[in-house]
């Protein structure tokens, strides 16, 4: 088991290296000069040359990559070109905020999605099933930015129940413990701030959850229908087990494999969705940082974010496989 995990993690090294090379080359062939971006529209050519030199951008690409690679191996991610912060510091601030949003969305999508999927399957071909499936299909068919703005309009403006920008009311000072605003507020015992952070989380989390929610519902329903029609469940029913117990205890456990796969895939999708959600709701997370960084050609920052994303991808895949093994005794990793 441990050997398996270690081997998987070793396997990740070539993937991460590939990602690193791909993003480095990708960024440096992109037209548009970062020194130009920094210096602004009013800069003289001399100023741009000076900046280019200061940033080491006049060196051969191979040299630049080597310098960067050595840095990375030593655990340094460099300094943002647009802002003067260390990349690690920027990412360290933004990531917990995205994490909070993603977890919230994931909980909504996972819990509601699995519940709805099981219900739809249990009441297959009834009005409840149809109703759930209509919601699901609409959820999959709406662009996320559109969902977000409609939610803001409905629950932020017309019936103003929730704030719709940032993660907490300006001026609230929280100790930096985990970096997740809601968690920090709870840990420091500041209940008013926790309520405030929760309110700020509601609309973006629902927005981000829409698509995975729909997707998880659909997959759960499919997997459950499959399992419910299996012979051993028919036998269980024939033996007089109550339907509720059949559905929730036996069927769901057996349907959990494909559901876990989908959950794993959806975590990756959440990170992409976070880009749009964070832009709409003015949330200072990784997604927004990434857009800014790409538009500005802020190489070190983009590279840092890509590496982080790739690591998350590797870890989630590993996690999904390990959960597989827990759920299905037939799967053994060695």
């Amino acid at each position: 088991m441990l050997a398996y995990v270690v081997r998987r993690l070793l396997w990740a090294i070539p993937v991460l290296l590939g990602v690193l090379i791909a993003v480095f080359i990708g960024l440096h062939v992109v037209p548009g000069n970062v020194a130009q971006s920094i210096a602004g529209a009013h800069a003289t050519p001399a100023q741009i040359r000076l900046l280019t030199h200061q940033l080491g951008l006049d060196k051969p690409l191979w040299d630049q990559f080597w310098v960067y690679f050595v840095q990375i191996v030593q655990g340094h991610f460099g300094t943002s070109l647009q802002y003067h912060n260390a990349v690690a510091e920027d990412i360290g601030q933004a990531f917990p905020i995205t994490l909070q949003l993603t977890i919230a969305a994931f909980i909504i999508a996972g819990v509601v999605g699995v519940l709805a999927g099981v219900l739809a399957a249990a009441f297959r071909n009834t009005w409840l099933d149809s109703l759930i499936m209509v919601f699901v299909l609409v959820g999959i068919s709406m662009p996320i930015f559109w969902t977000g703005v409609m939610l803001i309009l409905a629950l932020g403006v017309d019936f103003p129940m929730f704030p719709f920008s940032s993660v907490i009311t300006a001026g609230t000072v929280l100790p930096h413990i985990t970096g997740l605003p809601l968690v920090d507020a709870l840990l420091s015992g500041n209940l008013a701030a926790a309520g405030d952070a929760f309110n700020h989380l509601v609309l973006p989390a629902i927005t981000l959850a829409t698509y995975p929610l729909a997707f998880i519902t659909r997959m759960t329903r499919g997997a459950m229908i499959e399992v419910l029609s299996q012979d051993y469940l028919r036998t269980a029913r024939a033996k007089g087990l109550r339907e509720r117990s059949v559905v929730w205890k036996h069927a769901l456990r057996n349907a959990s494999l494909p559901i876990v796969t989908v959950l794993g895939v959806q975590v990756g999708a959440l990170l992409s969705g976070a880009v749009l959600t964070e832009t709409i709701f003015a949330i200072p997370g990784i997604g927004r940082l990434m857009i800014q960084a790409i538009l500005f050609r802020d190489y070190p920052l983009v590279q840092g974010i890509v590496i982080l994303a790739a690591c998350i991808f590797v870890l989630i895949n590993l996690l999904v496989d390990l959960i597989y093994a827990r759920l299905d005794p037939r799967i053994r990793y060695s």
């Binding site: 703005v149 129940m161 929730f162």
Partner: protein, 537 residues
């Protein structure tokens, strides 16, 4: 549509339950008007991104500038709502030595927010850290920073302290726009203690003499500043200003509508109908320091023919564009200089919309059948063009079609657009524009139409020897009347040579909630004189 609304009803129900669990929602305030200025209150201003830094010497982006205007003062200042230069931290000044020495008499009893006294020594240190690379706190020690320092202090050789509150600044050659430069937010005087204590970290520990003092900057969320009760220009009415960072346009507008922000910094013309329709919002529009035009490659056929350049100027219906695309908040250019710039000549005629004349000029030039050409287009909204490049380009494309010119639009992201247009080999038409920094004509049009500025803003590669000489002479003169005379000649010649399709001066637009009083936008774009603003309760 029905399903959409059904969905919202359900979502709303879910949300009500969650919200009830959390215990509270947001609150909005609406208040009765009161007569005089009210003390206290927090004003929230929208900015679309984080400032890059809060040390004026090492930043150049608008988002930093908005905050800097509240924290720092320059030796000179702009009068409220104008680019007229008035005394700032310097009470008065004399120009001697043929325009090469400026002697400033400083205000007394002023302190920086970190408690350091403001005096001639402080100014001497400040100037030295801008011009002397050997100074351990040289501003250039922060690598990769954007800066306006070479622009203002490029000619400055040093200072002489003439008394506790008297200082001379010496230059190698005269700089006609120096006083205007000093009023810019980028030239706010910084505390010597701040520079010495924090070194290359000074950008996040700002300390100035301005009407507000820095409190905190939560990255990605807001910058908070509080009133400086001892401000020399009068204690601010507000107790605090929050600069809230909101990137998305729809969210900005909706935040203004609910009162989550009080001032919307970037108003797009498409937002005007909504702002006007809302009872609690006011639109503020005034002429800005903006030129919005199309550069024509004057060294490339067929635009090397002045008749063709004039023809396209007649062919574009600028009036209609102003009225409809810019909601009437723009004015047709009759000079390369915007109306609020020093020496602007309003007597110069603009090119009116005249399709007949345009066709006739095309015939005369031998292009009666028209031609095909490419125009580069930036794909975002810019300060001088708030509707965005592609939208404007489409209108120009359809107007030029009427005289047989088939325009291919080459849409680029801003970084690429700028990098390509700023090259010696650039030979396409391009959307272009400029926002002035200090109201001075040299800053405004020399980068656009001077023969030495191909790599800055002169995408047309226009180089008229007479104009080039006049630019040089005007900059070496500190006599206003004489400078103005040079710039009037320059304006006339450029309009005649038509190296551009002169479109419009767009307005500087902001919007405020109706409880904001005393706010006057400054043409330089930034939040200065904010001590005069107050909020009714």
């Amino acid at each position: 549509m029905k399903t959409t609304w059904q969905r919202f009803v359900t979502l709303a129900a879910a949300v009500v339950i969650l919200g009830a669990a959390a215990g509270c929602g947001t609150q909005t305030s609406s208040a009765p008007q009161s007569k005089g200025p009210v003390q206290g209150g927090t004003l929230s201003i929208e900015v679309s991104a984080d400032p890059v830094g809060l040390d004026p010497a090492t930043t150049l982006d608008n988002d930093s500038g908005y905050v800097l205007g509240t924290l720092y003062d320059g030796l000179t200042a702009y009068a409220p709502g104008s680019t007229k230069v008035v005394p700032g931290l310097a009470k008065s000044w004399q120009i001697t030595n043929g325009g090469k020495t400026y002697i400033f008499t400083l205000r007394q009893g002023v302190k920086f927010s970190d408690g350091t006294a403001f005096n001639a020594q402080a100014v001497a240190f400040w100037v030295d850290h801008l011009i002397n690379p050997k100074n351990p706190d040289y501003y250039g020690n922060l690598k990769g920073a954007e800066t306006f320092v070479p622009f203002t202090f490029g000619n400055v050789t040093g200072t002489q302290v003439l008394g506790p509150y008297k200082i001379a600044i010496n230059m190698s050659q005269p700089n006609g726009e120096f006083l205007a430069d000093l009023a810019m937010v980028w030239n706010g005087v910084t505390s010597p203690k701040m520079l010495k204590t924090y070194g290359t970290d000074a950008w996040q520990h700002p300390s100035g003499t301005g009407p507000f003092e820095f409190v905190r900057w939560v990255k990605g969320q807001y910058v908070e500043v509080k009133a400086n009760p001892n401000y020399w220009g009068g204690k601010p009415h507000l107790s605090e200003i929050l600069f809230k960072i909101i990137p998305d346009q729809s969210t900005q507008l909706l935040s203004l509508k609910t009162g989550a922000i009080n001032i919307l910094t970037d108003v797009a013309p498409s937002e005007i109908p909504t702002i006007k329709a809302a009872k609690n919002l006011t639109l503020l529009a005034e002429p800005g320091l903006d030129d919005n035009y199309v550069s024509l490659p004057v060294q490339t056929p067929p635009f090397n023919n002045p008749l063709v350049r004039q023809a396209v100027n007649y062919a574009v219906n600028k009036q209609a564009i102003d009225q409809h695309l810019y909601g009437g908040y723009a004015q047709v250019m009759n000079s390369p200089l915007p109306t609020v710039a020093f020496s602007y000549d309003k007597s110069i005629p603009a090119y009116p919309y005249n399709l007949q004349k345009a066709k006739q000029l095309m015939q005369q030039a031998g292009y009666g059948k028209g031609f095909n050409f490419t125009m580069d287009v930036y794909n975002n909204a810019r300060g001088y063009n708030p509707i965005g490049g592609p939208e404007l380009a489409v209108a120009i494309q359809s107007d030029l079609k009427a005289i047989g010119i088939n325009l291919t639009l080459n849409t680029l992201d801003p970084a690429t657009w700028l990098a390509q247009a700023r090259s010696n080999s650039f030979n396409k038409m391009s959307l272009a524009g400029w926002t002035g920094d200090n109201g001075d004509p040299d800053d405004m049009i020399s980068p656009l139409f001077n023969g030495n500025a191909f790599l800055t803003g002169n995408f047309s590669h226009y180089s008229n020897p007479t104009v080039n000489q006049d630019f040089a002479k005007a900059l070496l003169t500190s006599n206003s009347a004489q400078r103005a005379a040079y710039y009037v000649q320059i304006q006339k010649q450029i309009m005649k040579d038509a190296p551009a399709i002169f479109l419009n001066y767009t307005n500087l637009m902001r919007a405020e909630t109706s409880n904001v009083h005393g706010f006057v936008p400054n043409p330089t774009f930034f939040y200065v004189n904010m001590n005069q603003v107050w909020l009714s309760k």
